[in-house]
Amino acid sequence: MLTVKSVHSYYESIHALKGVSLHVLKGEIVTLVGANGAGKSTLVKTICGFLRPSRGEIFFDNRPIHILPVEKIVELGIAVVPEGRQIFASLPVEVNLEMGAFLYRKDREYVQKMKEEMFERFPILRKRRNQLAGTLSGGEQQMLAIARALMSKPKLVILDEPSMGLAPLVVKEVFTIIQELRAEGKTILLIEQNARAALKIADRGYVLETGKVVLEGTGKALLEHSEVQRAYLGRGTPRIWEA
Amino acid sequence: MDYSRSEVKFGIYLVAVIILPFLFQGIQPISHYIDVMIFAGIFALVTLGLSLLMGYSGQISLAQAAFMGIGAYSTGVLTTLYSWPSMAALIAGMALTGAVAFIVGLPSLKLKGHYLAMATLGFGVIVHIVFNEEVELTGGPSGLVGIDTLKIATWRVDSPLEWYFLVWGLVTAVIVFSHNLAHSRIGRAFLAIHADEKAAGAMGISVSRYKVQVFVLSAVLASLAGSLYAHYVEFISPSSFDLLWSIRFVLMVMVGGMNNLWGALFGTVLLTFLSNEWLHVFAEWEMIIYGAILLTITLFVPEGIVPALSKLVRRRT
């Protein structure tokens, strides 16, 4: 579904991605782990068109997308929960959600239905529906960013650290949603600092280090890999809310 | 290392400032450039202050021409109507301008972005109207005549060369002062306020105090420039201190490079020469060409000419 072929990206003179290749098959959950500054968010920005790769190609549904502008890429069916949330701070929560379904703006009923669905999943958002998104608490904003991305029924969802700032119960909810999405046949690229939980639900995973893929394998294999354990899973105290 | 680079820059500047007037005087077709440079220097006093305000602490002011006008009219009125010595009038003007800036700045600087622009703009227009309407004091729109040249103790600043060195001496002093300020805890506080007022407050920086202080500083510098202007031209009228001039000062700062003192200086000299000298040949087309140059600069070197140039130089070396 998504194929990234030896992509290089730069921030002016900083070489942030140094030939990253990976692929995500239809209906898979693929997890990307990596230390701080490894280039995970940079990869997301490159896939959805905010950064032009200086070399390499990206295909989505067999179409080259590294030459398309952001809004065209999104139209193909990719939705993103970006790092730093990027909500519309001066607009009410409800309008933020509506904007998530911009591509379906003609279909009033659909928008209404999806909004209801999101309010069901994140009840706190219903309570705050008329509040300006910029005044939400950090976790509420994160929920809004996730809900907004799901409004457009995308084929591929890219989540950049979705659990950041969320309370344990809500993190659990988010992981449930991710698994439900897969059950619906959607494809997911998940970036998580909470690597253990992320790898556990993943079909496959990649490890990114200073702009390069250094390891790849099934979720389970990576979980058991000693380097991964040492570098990303910590001392191995299991999280209380993890099964 | 960083410091030595700025010392080199300063050295080049100093040599240029000292040599230029003699160069100009020697070459007949540009002998009057010294007069243009005097104006550029006077304006540079305004824009250096504005650069501290805009580039460092991130506040915009469209009232600088008004502050310059308060200085100029203090000098004009006090020396002609009340026969004050020029230095006393100059200092009184600076004090008055500082006080006015303080009173206006306190509530205004709580505003953000366009609202701050509107507030300072509004204040500038009000001052301009007062200059126009208080005919008894200011001479109204016809202006104030009969201002004598500047006298410092027994020195009567008379010849262009004397004016040049007086003005550019002051500019140099202001550059040194501002440069030092910018590279100190206070300069960092300005930058912090610019970047994030909340975080700056949490670091113990009194945001409103510093904003007002730098506003007052820039106003006082503008006032000084105004007094010099009045003495140099020996005539002032409200139209020299209207909104258009405030906008021009902002343009000078932006074109040269906002967060860079050299940028403000360069932008001032460049735009002064462009609009007073070099564009004359285009006659009717002058306005369009001026606009097009501004447009090109802001589009292609939005960070300003000086930062763009120094980036280029750094990449080469």
Binding site: Y11, V33, A35, N36, G37, A38, S41, E83, I124, R128, T135, S137, G138, G139, E140, G165, L166, A167, P168, L169, V170, V171, K172, F175, Q193, A195, R230, A231, Y232, L233, G234, R239, I240, W241, A243 | S178, N180, L181, S184, R185, I186, G187, R188, A189, L191, A192, A195, D196, K198, A199, A200, G201, A202, M203, G204, I205, S206, V207, Q213, L217
Partner: protein
């Protein structure tokens, strides 16, 4: 760095602190005492009012009613910069660095409250100011070294990856030499290994004699490192106690932690 002697007196006292936003009660009558020298965690569901509480303590927003005492000084009516100079420093949930300044300069700004040169001294580079400036720089380096960001000193703060930006915020807050440090979700954006390093860093900070208040959703960090926990729920105090007490509190499990069964 200075080591303060440990004592079990109260460093921060909240008395019936409330804060409304329009019709919304973000904090309702919160009363609490924070003993000096401990790591005090504040947890609670999203929107419980934790950040709001920190904002009230640090003076970023005023309280609607109630009183806050820092040692014996009433601080709920003081502006943020006054509170900072009294010795309360903080980090932000959304990183609030001075993005275009370098990492080192960010920390140097933190030294603001500990330096005094005025406009004139700075403008004329008086000898006093030069000495102070050198001192600011040296001390800032020390703090960078303390958190391990020394190699990045010359980079613009905005170009650091998120995790390092969070650490930098801690360094900047430490540079004000606070006696009370408020950390708002410092582990957000850090992976498990990095979070453990952060835990150690917080411990070292505590060992300097600084009281640390920390808002965090990473329960490993909270349970392992904090001495006491305050649980907020819809602006009310839901529970308080030691980690083991809170961990087993029914109400806390229900609204916040969730049960440990599989999902």
């Amino acid at each position: 760095m200075i080591k303060r002697q440990q004592e079990q007196s109260t460093i921060l006292k909240l008395e019936g602190v409330s804060r409304n936003f329009g019709g919304l009660q973000a904090l309702t009558e919160v009363s609490y005492r924070v003993p000096e020298g401990i790591i005090q965690a504040v947890i609670g569901p999203n929107g419980a009012g934790k950040t709001t509480l920190f904002n009230c303590i640090s003076g970023l927003i005023p309280v609607t009613s109630g009183r806050i005492f820092f040692r014996d000084t009433r601080i709920d009516n003081l502006p943020a910069h006054r509170i900072a100079s009294l010795g309360i420093s903080r980090t932000f949930q959304h990183v609030a660095l001075f993005k275009n300044m370098t990492v080192l300069e960010n920390v140097m700004v933190g030294r603001h409250v500990k330096s005094h040169s005025g406009f004139m001294a700075c403008g004329f580079r008086l000898p006093f100011m030069r000495r102070e400036e050198r001192d600011i720089r040296d001390r800032a380096y020390e703090f960078l070294k303390f958190v391990g960001l020394e190699p990045e000193a010359r980079k613009p703060a905005g170009s650091l990856p998120l995790g390092k930006q969070k650490i930098l915020e801690i360094a900047r807050a430490l540079a004000t030499e606070p006696t009370l440090l408020l950390l708002d979700e410092p582990a957000g954006g850090l992976n498990a290994a990095e979070t453990e390093e952060l835990g150690e860093l917080i411990k070292r900070i505590k060992n300097l004699g600084i009281t640390v208040m920390i808002v965090e959703h990473d329960m490993n960090l909270v349970m392992e490192y904090s001495d006491r926990i305050l649980v907020l729920h819809f602006g009310h105090v839901l529970a308080e106690g030691t980690p083991s007490e809170v961990k087993n509190d029914e109400k806390v499990i229900e609204v916040y932690l969730g049960t440990t069964e599989a999902c």
